[in-house]
């Protein structure tokens, strides 16, 4: 299968006035197209920074990074990568429909292709058809994140980067959205990189879990869960294999 992401000796962090501040260094990572990878780690381990480098929001400090065989900038310009933020980042002055349509409104010059997705179908797909004319402040937290996901899916991205998208939601809403996201993933075939600080979410959602450690930021392990899940990537939350995986993840996180 083709590679969605290929990092070799990648070093990421921030350019500060005092010089570069490395957050995560010498990262070697290959993610196949269509994979669902969850990224788990404590604050400051660079998990959000990694997504931002892949999305071309940040320049890497060093090393090599290829996204779909190209530079992150080329992939971003074509909208083959979409980003879902923890705060849904909906524009309060636009309705649900207006927010989902935002990608049709801005940045079209660099796009170079026609967007054919029907906004109505997309809204129905995330269960928001009835709420199309509402404003964001009239929605619940879970509904707002669905709008953000619909907006991200509008351009049929091949890679979806999600930065703790359900981190601020209550557990029941989060469980439901987790299942809906898995359904969307199977349907679209997109590669998803999903940052979370929930062990349960990481194990339940990911085919593989990338566990990062902080101070200094580093890869602790990559846990492969594909054998525990069925062909569609599903595994019941209470399955022994998943419970065991969560135990291992907890151990990895605790390990110095």
């Amino acid at each position: 299968m083709a590679e969605a992401i290929r990092a070799r000796g990648l070093e990421i962090g921030y350019e500060l006035e005092t010089g570069p501040l490395s957050v995560l260094g010498s990262l070697d990572l290959t993610i196949a197209e269509g994979e669902f990878l969850t990224i788990l780690g404590p604050s400051g381990c660079g998990k959000s920074t990694l997504l931002r480098v892949i999305a071309d929001l940040l320049e890497p400090l060093g090393g090599a990074l290829q996204v779909l065989g190209e530079t992150p900038a080329a992939v971003r310009a074509r909208r083959d990568v979409a980003f879902v933020f923890q705060d849904s980042t909906l524009l309060p002055w636009r309705t649900v429909r207006g927010n989902v349509e935002l990608p049709l409104l801005v940045g079209r010059r660099s796009l170079g292709r026609q967007i054919t997705t029907s906004v109505d179908e997309l809204l129905a797909l995330v269960g928001l058809a009835e709420l199309a004319n509402r404003f964001p402040h009239q929605l619940s937290g879970g509904q707002r994140q669905r709008v953000a996901i619909a907006r991200a899916l509008l351009c049929n991205p091949r890679i979806l980067l999600m930065d703790e998208p359900f981190g601020a939601l209550d557990e029941m809403t989060r469980d439901r959205l987790n299942d809906e996201l898995l359904r969307l993933w199977r349907r679209t075939g997109a590669t998803i990189l999903f940052v979370t600080h929930s062990i349960m979410e990481a194990a339940y959602m990911g085919q593989r879990v990338l566990v990062l450690g902080a101070n200094p930021g580093r890869v602790k392990t990559i846990l492969d869960l594909r054998l525990s899940k069925d062909a569609t990537g599903h595994c019941p939350r209470e399955a022994p294999a998943l419970v065991e995986a969560m135990g291992r993840l907890r151990q990895e996180l605790a390990r110095e």
Binding site: A82, L102, R109
Partner: protein, 251 residues
């Protein structure tokens, strides 16, 4: 059941309060021996509206035009300068302190200077009204244009939005609540600016009417002119609020 009750009283109580003060004033002032050329009764002020309607209207129109023109000028310049400041930090660093200093000059001290430069027509009054509107809008607009979150900017960057798109689709709509907050203030201060300008050098407008009737001990006219100026400010305020509710529909 307490809600409809409370709503009815919210309208009735302020009206009753105002009426009680007017009644008190109507009967207490003469009873206290205050002559009507010092403080007129409400009934005498009302009579001015009946007898000298054309005089009040003649004062009202220039002040209205000066206030609106000054409001438009001062706020437009403030918005444009705010955009320049937000997009050019060096320009801001160089000129914002100057603007800040300029703002500390009392408008009453500035008005003669403006009249000296621009003469006695309508223009100096418009400029004084503009100056008085300018600063709150500048400060609020700068804050509003900068009120975008990091993730909003990242969202627009992931979408490869141009600088112009970030401005029109993100910064400007973000700034609207801030802008209207200052426009509401400016709707009242523009009238103050126009009236102050007319005090210093004019024979037209409500400001001139106020000065003339003060010097002639025509206190009933003075009070009527005050009522008209304050009504003008309230009307402008209500127009701003009405426009705001159409522009900002999401609250």
């Amino acid at each position: 059941m307490s809600k409809p009750f409370a709503r009815r009283w919210r309208l009735v109580l302020p009206l009753a309060g105002a009426a009680s003060i007017l009644l008190f004033w109507q009967f207490l002032i003469p009873a206290a021996g205050v002559p009507p050329y010092i403080v007129p009764t409400p009934a005498r002020v009302a009579a001015v509206f009946a007898h000298d309607w054309s005089l009040l209207w003649g004062g009202f129109v220039p002040t209205l035009l000066e206030s609106i023109a000054g409001f438009a000028l001062g706020n437009s310049v403030a918005v444009l300068l705010a955009v320049l400041f937000v997009y050019n930090r060096r320009f801001e660093a160089a000129y914002f302190p100057v603007v800040l200093f300029f703002n500390t000059i009392p408008v009453l001290a500035l008005a003669p200077v403006i009249i000296l430069i621009f003469g006695l027509g309508m223009l100096p009054k418009i400029i004084i009204a503009a100056v008085i509107c300018f600063f709150p809008t500048l400060v609020n607009m700068i804050r509003g244009l900068q009120a975008v979150s990091t993730s909003e900017l990242e969202l627009f960057r992931v979408l490869s939005a141009t600088r112009a798109e970030v401005f029109w689709r993100l910064r400007l709509p973000r700034a609207m609540p801030y802008l209207f907050a200052s426009l509401r203030i400016a709707s009242a201060t523009a009238v103050i600016g126009a009236v102050v300008g007319e005090w210093i050098g004019s024979d037209k407008g409500l400001g001139a009417l106020i000065i003339q009737s003060t010097f002639n001990y025509q206190s009933d006219r003075l009070y009527a002119a005050i009522v008209v100026s304050s009504s003008l400010a309230i009307a402008l305020f209500l127009i701003v609020v009405a426009v705001e509710s159409r522009v900002i529909r999401y609250r």
